[in-house]
Amino acid sequence: MSTSTPLAAEPVKLTKSALTAERPTWCPGCGDYSVLAAYYKILEKRQLPHEKIVTLAGIGCSSRFPYFVNSHGAHYIHGRSIPLATGVSLARPDLNVFVFGGDGDGFSIGGNHLEHGARKNVNLTYVIMDNSVYGMTKKQTSPTSPVGFKTKTDPTGSMDRPVNAVKKLLSAGATFIARAHASQINHMTQMIERAMDHEGFSVVHVLSDCSEFFPDAYTSANPRKGGEYKIIEEKLWDQTPEDELRHDFTDETAAYRLADHPFPGLFGVFYQVERATKNDLEDMWIDSVRTKMAHCSDLEILQQTFDRMK
């Protein structure tokens, strides 16, 4: 077995066609196509080594994402993609770990994992494709469904208060939190790219319409349909009076306040801070322990331990 990464035959330019795998099985008009397009665009722009890209997902329409990307990947079980991705990220710092999934996958069945992945600040990028409905299972209520939305499991309209994604992520401790709408492909691409550049648990909450079961969920955020796409203005630190009103994305309280903006909410970066990642903290611990071991071989270390048990 090899220990180092051998070179591929020759470095080939990563093109959209090299990244394209099978044809997406999404319905025509599904917002998820745009997210896929943005992902291709970023990978193509950034020219990451092809074999170092890992695309992971749980279960749902959105979670079929890895099949449509020609990269190492895994299509895991419903709601558990974050701990799976955590394992990959912690063991393999050489890889770029991307996770995709839906609102049910991320906020409902996987809600606890989202919480703890964020708290631990695991180094990965997570794109939550929120359509406010369960698409895959054909129109049941999701944790982000608005009150009153009629589904097959709430025929008279959803009655439970929807999750506020940004507030949930803030309280959990995510260190990069942004929002975008899939119809605003340039802005969304910027957000995902910034998430990718962030060291730590970076999340982009992307509103991605389900053309089949909730087609006009986010019309109010789509300028082409008469809505308004309100982008957060970030502080430029230019000492101008206008700057006073702009958002300091390191200010958690301010981020909470922005997160309270009425539906469909604001778009852009709500929050970004540097905090030691789980990856760094574990590495530091490993390094300090390894130093004490004076670079003994595995056999020697185990033998020493056994000698103490004699």
Binding site: M1, P83, L84, V88
Partner: protein
């Protein structure tokens, strides 16, 4: 005490401080039960004795129960020391140390007729009219306080008792003092000094006045004997994993699994590895799968309730064909069940839990020593067959300390790194004509086609499909690799004659008691043999040929006889061989089999 020469064990006539004149001086086996409260530190006395025996090349096996209450409450530690092969913790004690009245009241019935009761006469008033035992009363509490001075109170009476026992059994006091220094000196030298004073006070106590004999363990000289290692079953699992080259894992705490993860959390960084405590068991198995997927065979583990939670993800590992080690340190079930008792009732869960046709590899550890080796084999199988492998242990093995021959680490330790060599054109993650071996992320794919591993049914490239023919082929692929494994598994060794009347079949921690029962039955003239299954699923090919040579086959296991009258392994064997002579001997009292219970069960 089992003695080479036969001695009568008629009631001791002397009342107070009865003289143990009947006891032989040279013994080769002794069962000592320490009974007190959990804060009395009897666990550590037991631990010292176990380690001493290990360092003296005596075989040792200890038995421990801890109350399920967090602190306080009655607790016992039973240590059996032998110069020969020690197979079980012993049905009855030769020697009972009672710290409190309740210790005496509860455990006097565990003392053998003719056995010695050593009691703290400050706290215990035994019924001296009961002439079956030898009574040795020592003011353990006040003598300890006297020796240590007022501030220490009676803390240290456990070490005082250790000194007493050392005197009575002629243990090597110098070795014990070294152990005490090693144990306490690390934190604080004055702690070690205090402990040594308590030890010396006990050791120099004039027990001769109360007990005629001091005992000697017969020396055994093993030719070319390896040094002895002393550890409990959970340590053996943890260090077995390290020896197997497992460097990553994740879990959530639960009794009696927890100490495995505690050890790995502290140890793996030394090897550049990592063990993560997760938010729950679903995350634990998922993270372990993330580690495995990344090219590093990983471990997760738990006990019954936690294993139940991991089930869906383990099914994914079967379908996606990812190697993974799943340790279940079994306790009593169902539900929260009996958290600190022993049961072998998770065998069905290990073999069958999860939806769909999902063939499983299940191995079971027979002893503390075997915990170490079973893990090595599990890792080999997981890697070779790219599949999840269950390792079953149980609460009796997890807390039991045994001394065993030091493993030959030089020849056992495995180093394993992700194999990132570029894969040639035409690489398929799920080839129908080969056993899957994945290309972990980071591996360049020379034909430019990158694999996506999946829990959906798939074709050879991993492309999802509902094609009926492919589902049939892929189901067969996942099954056939385990059939291949079954064909290469060794048959278990037969203990006793290769043919005869009765064959006992066991798995897991019942190994020792079954073997001792067979020895006892054979000595009494019965035609009884035994086999012990390490490979519980798949079963090795050819067991039927062994069964054919016996009139009846009795499967001995710690679980319920079920709706149809058979325990869990018995049911599996009956389904496999359709052989009506396969019978069942089970029990569900939450305790390990006593040798007597097996002897009686077989003799019925």
């Amino acid at each position: 005490m089992n003695t080479p020469q036969t001695t009568s064990s008629s009631p001791v006539p002397t009342p107070v401080a009865g003289r143990a004149d009947l006891r032989p001086q040279h013994i080769h086996d002794a069962v000592i039960r320490l009974a007190g409260n959990s804060q009395d530190g009897i666990q550590s006395v037991g631990g010292f004795l176990a380690r001493l025996a290990g360092r003296s090349a005596q075989d040792v096996m200890t038995y421990m129960t801890i109350p399920s209450t967090i602190s306080g409450g009655p607790s016992i530690f039973q240590v059996r020391i032998g110069s020969g092969e020690v197979l079980s913790a012993g049905d009855e004690a030769d020697f009972l140390v009672a710290f409190h009245q309740h210790s005496y009241d509860t455990h006097i019935r565990a003392l053998k007729e003719g056995g010695v009761l050593l009691y703290d006469s400050d706290n215990v008033q035994p019924n001296l009219d009961d002439k079956r035992f030898v009574y040795v009363g020592v003011q353990i509490t006040s003598l300890t306080i006297e020796a240590l001075g007022g501030t220490a109170k009676d803390k240290g009476k456990n070490i005082f008792v250790l000194g007493l026992l050392a005197a009575i059994f002629n243990f090597d006091a110098e070795k014990l003092k070294t152990l005490i220094r090693e144990r306490f000196g690390k934190k604080d030298a004055s702690l070690a000094d205090t402990a040594l004073i308590a030890f010396q006070a006990g050791y120099s106590y004039p027990v001769d006045n109360l007990l005629a004999d001091r005992y000697h363990f017969e020396k055994v000289h093993k030719e070319g004997a390896r040094a002895q290692i002393t550890m409990d079953g959970n340590q053996a699992i943890a260090f077995g994993l390290i020896a197997a080259g497992v460097r990553y894992g994740a879990a959530y705490p639960i009794t009696p699994w927890t100490s495995v993860m505690e050890i790995l959390r502290a140890e793996l960084p030394k090897y550049g590895g990592l063990f993560v405590q997760t938010e729950d068991e679903l995350a634990a198995v998922s993270m372990a799968l993330g580690f495995s997927y990344s090219g590093n065979l990983a471990v997760t583990g738990s006990s019954g309730p936690g294993i139940s939670l991991k089930t869906e993800a383990i099914g994914w590992a079967t379908m996606a064909e990812i190697p993974l080690l799943v340790v279940n340190v079994q306790r009593g079930g169902p539900s929260t069940g009996l958290p600190t008792n022993v049961e072998q009732s998770d065998l069905y869960q290990a073999i069958y839990s999860g939806h769909g046709d999902s063939p499983r590899v299940v191995l079971a550890a027979a002893s503390v020593e075997d915990c170490f080796y079973v893990v090595l084999e599990a890792a080999r199988i997981a890697r070779k067959y790219s599949t999840p492998v269950f390792i079953l242990s149980d609460s009796s093995l997890s807390t039991r300390i045994e001394a065993f021959d030091e493993p030959d680490l030089k020849n056992l330790v495995q180093i394993s790194k992700p194999d990132l060599t570029p894969r040639p054109e035409g690489f398929k993650p799920y080839p129908l004509d080969k056993i899957t071996q994945h290309a972990p992320p980071g591996t360049p794919m020379l034909d430019g086609k990158y694999p996506v591993l999946t829990g959906l049914e798939h074709d050879e490239t991993g492309h999802p499909t509902g094609n009926p023919a492919l589902h049939m082929k892929m189901t067969a692929k996942r099954r056939e690799k385990l059939q291949k494994l079954a064909a290469e598994l060794p048959l278990p060794e037969i203990h006793g004659d290769p043919e005869g009347d009765t064959l006992l079949v066991g798995w897991g921690s019942t190994f020792g008691p079954i073997r001792e029962a067979v020895n006892r039955l054979r000595k009494a003239g019965s035609s009884v043999s035994a086999i012990h299954l390490r490979h519980v699923h798949p079963l090795p090919d050819g067991l039927d040929a062994i069964f054919a040579r016996f009139r009846r086959v009795i499967v001995v296991e710690l679980n319920d006889s079920g709706l149809y009258g058979f325990g869990q392994l018995a049911t599996v064997l009956r389904a496999r061989y359709c052989d009506p002579k396969i019978q069942s001997l089970t029990k569900t009292d939450g305790l390990s089999f006593l040798v007597r219970e097996i002897v009686d069960g077989v003799s019925k």
